[in-house]
Symmetry: C2
Subunit: 450 residues, 2 copies
């Protein structure tokens, strides 16, 4: 019988993360006031020391602490599936594989870094960690990770999501996370807005500002971040390292790797261990990074220094950006609604190692349902973007007769996104136009730093 | 490092189901009018022939069709975990293992039989299958299973659940299931109630009657059932057969096996392959079957002939029952709100092979959260009952110093039950009393057949 699932033993969970920084020349983050390279000390105020060191490390391999690996074992190694039914449905000579991160307790790849960040902060004597969350994936992962080390967590959740995704709050509370609808009266960043209108819907920008302020003004409290930064992408490389071992077991290797990107950490985790081989000239794998047409930083943004947040308080980072002021239309892929992109992914796109593609919400839902129809798993809308591109590539192979091996990352399940599917079926979803005017306007406000 | 997860290869998915019927002397179902043993022909009107044959088969092993095994591979073999963190939290010398069925696309053990029933019906030329669903677990599984064979499915969903669990409907629709709130105007069984009040909240009894009528009155349409009957329990034995192989790999074997029971199919699937060894005198494993105090058929019911449904249309079956008229209080474990119990489980309890235990909703939630706190996975409320009993046994071992090996079945995740957890945290859940008066009243209406 033709194998569908390529599993690994617990002992095959990677012992080191893969760091691609030594192979890239990334521009340093800049202090937003002086425009000089940001000081390590600034970062140490809000992040754990090992995270700051990893952020700029030139070591190719970084040990995964034994206590982090121990917790990874609750759901890792994650399975690599061969999507034979999808191949049959398309009628393609291509082989399609997918790595599935939805088996983690919070349901996505996010705990790969949440557990690591929680561990380092606990070890440093922190008494609490903070973060922000939009749709709730990252907040859930952080609560889960922190709770594994008996570390209290505070999650500022964008108020409109807090109302629209009521199931995420009890999930975070099950893991002893404190969930605060943002803007709140707990911080300077939220107070005025809250007092003006206690039902203010909030934004990711405000929630980030609240979480950072909460960390900065308390001595033993640190902030944690779910994507974009180098150390977060590093922690995610367990995904790609496992995938490599699984392809070896399958006696195959990918020609094309596909993933969605909001901040970019899941696709980086999946692809970086393979990209190392490409940069070192050992392979010529292709990489497609897929974003929503509603928030197209890579396909419509500029490669420039910009703020990581709308409050203009983070260091300036060199990345593809739509401008820190850009507010994406309300698509259901909350995890892809970010104005910028991880510096590592940005650099790889700039150097044409990765090819960016944009997919509309409607195309995405159609593809996600074609997938669940045959493969069973109902994907989150975010990886639906990767599925759409995968089906497209497989159809191209059907035309050309190429027997390519395609691998995509299914970074999470859609159990908390069923309302989005209901809207799609009920024809309540409208086509969301490419937000051309908004992008132009926010591009005008890019900081004047080349 | 101490292993946490015991995985099996795809090739280790069982090739046969285990049938315990040859080891038990079950009383036959009776025709509700004549009180003679029910005719095979009556069952063939609504069920596929292989299912009816399995219902009374005296073969110990029954081949799993290759096409069913092929679909099992989408999520099977499921993992067996060692709950070391739970052991540490309790401080027990006992070893705790759990078999986790929540990795299936619908999120529970239910597709083990849904896929099989769909396959047999497709092969028999059926053009559609019907069923009822309460909270939605079974309806989701049936839609998923039927869709794998391109077989349309119609699910009559109790209207109050249809409203309270809005996320289940789009899930079933993703698998091309037709979801009809019950009572509906589509059937004689539902029409009058619907016409009287189109917002009638419905009941499982009405929904069963609608699904059976829909099947009976259309030539190429069959009914499918999610629990209670022998063939359903048979299909679930893949769970226990895998568990046996996994214990062999772990170099251990269970002293006590624990599971929750509504109709009884999940715990039967988990335990029957081990119970065979006990009946044949090879082992002396203990079995605890856990039910809610709100619906205590095994601990407070009688072992008698009764109807399977409140409409009194099914054959009479010999089982532990609270009376077919009994309407359990609205606990959050929808899957455990059934007035009767599978004849196989009932017999094993009557013969004292299994020991029944009842757990209250409050105790259950407390235990479920102790579990997710350390192990991560948030359980559905139904297996929360098994967790409560497991923790109790492990604490007993702490007192006595016994190094027992305890295995429980985690039959599904709680991703669609987060509202129940929210109510628990918010102190909105009240203690639900043992429904003594209602039980007495419905017991009075038991049919007069010994």
């Amino acid at each position: 019988m033709n194998q569908l699932k390529f599993s690994l033993e617990e002992s095959e969970i990677p012992e080191k993360w893969y760091n691609i920084l030594p192979l890239l020349s990334l521009e340093p983050p800049l202090n937003p006031k002086s425009l000089d390279p940001a000081e390590k000390e600034d970062l140490l105020k809000i992040f754990a020391k090992p995270c700051v060191e990893q952020e700029m490390s030139q070591e190719s391999w970084i040990d995964i602490p034994e206590k982090v690996r121990k917790i990874y074992r609750h759901w890792r190694p994650t399975p690599l599936f061969r999507a034979r039914d999808l191949e049959d449905m398309i009628g393609t000579p291509a082989k399609i594989y997918y790595k599935y991160e939805g088996v983690s307790p919070p349901g996505s790849h996010k705990p790969n870094t949440a557990v690591a960040q929680a561990y380092y902060n606990k070890k440093e004597g922190m008494e609490r960690v903070t973060t922000e969350t939009g749709a709730g994936q990252w907040g859930s992962a952080l609560s889960y990770g922190a709770n594994q080390f008996d570390l209290p967590s505070t999650v500022y959740m964008v108020r409109i999501s807090y109302r629209q995704k009521p199931d995420r709050r009890p999930m975070m509370e099950a893991w002893n996370g404190e969930v605060i609808p943002s803007p709140s009266k707990k911080t300077e960043a939220g107070k005025d807005r809250f007092n003006e209108d206690s039902e203010n819907p909030g934004s990711l920008g405000i929630a980030i500002a609240e979480a950072i302020e909460d960390a900065a003004k308390h001595e033993n409290v640190h902030y944690t971040i779910g994507s974009v930064l180098n150390h977060v992408l590093l922690h995610q490389t367990v995904i790609g390292l496992e995938t490599k071992k699984q392809f070896k077991k399958a006696g195959d290797e990918p020609d094309i790797m596909i993933g969605c990107a909001g901040g970019g950490s899941s696709f980086a985790g999946f692809s970086l261990p393979f990209i190392g081989d490409v940069i070192e000239g050992e392979k010529n794998t292709n990489f497609r990074v897929v974003e929503p047409t509603a928030c197209p930083s890579l396909t419509s943004g500029r490669y420039r220094y910009d703020f990581g947040d709308s409050a203009q308080e983070t260091p300036l980072i060199k990345m593809y950006t739509l401008g820190h002021d850009f507010v994406p239309p309300p698509i259901h892929s909350g995890g892809l609604r970010y104005h910028g992109m991880a510096p590592i992914i940005s650099k790889l796109v700039e150097e044409e190692v990765m090819e960016p593609v944009a997919v509309s919400q409607m195309e995405m839902f159609e593809a996600a349902l074609e997938f669940s129809d045959v493969e069973g798993i109902i994907p989150a809308p975010e990886p639906g973007h990767a599925i759409q591109q995968t089906i497209k590539e497989a159809k191209r192979c059907r035309e050309t007769g190429e027997e390519k091996t395609i691998a995509f990352l299914l970074c999470g399940h859609g159990h908390f996104d069923m309302e989005a599917y209901r809207e799609y079926y009920s024809d309540e979803l409208e086509h969301i136009e490419y937000p051309e005017d908004e992008i132009e306007k926010s591009m005008d406000k890019l900081p004047d730093v080349e």
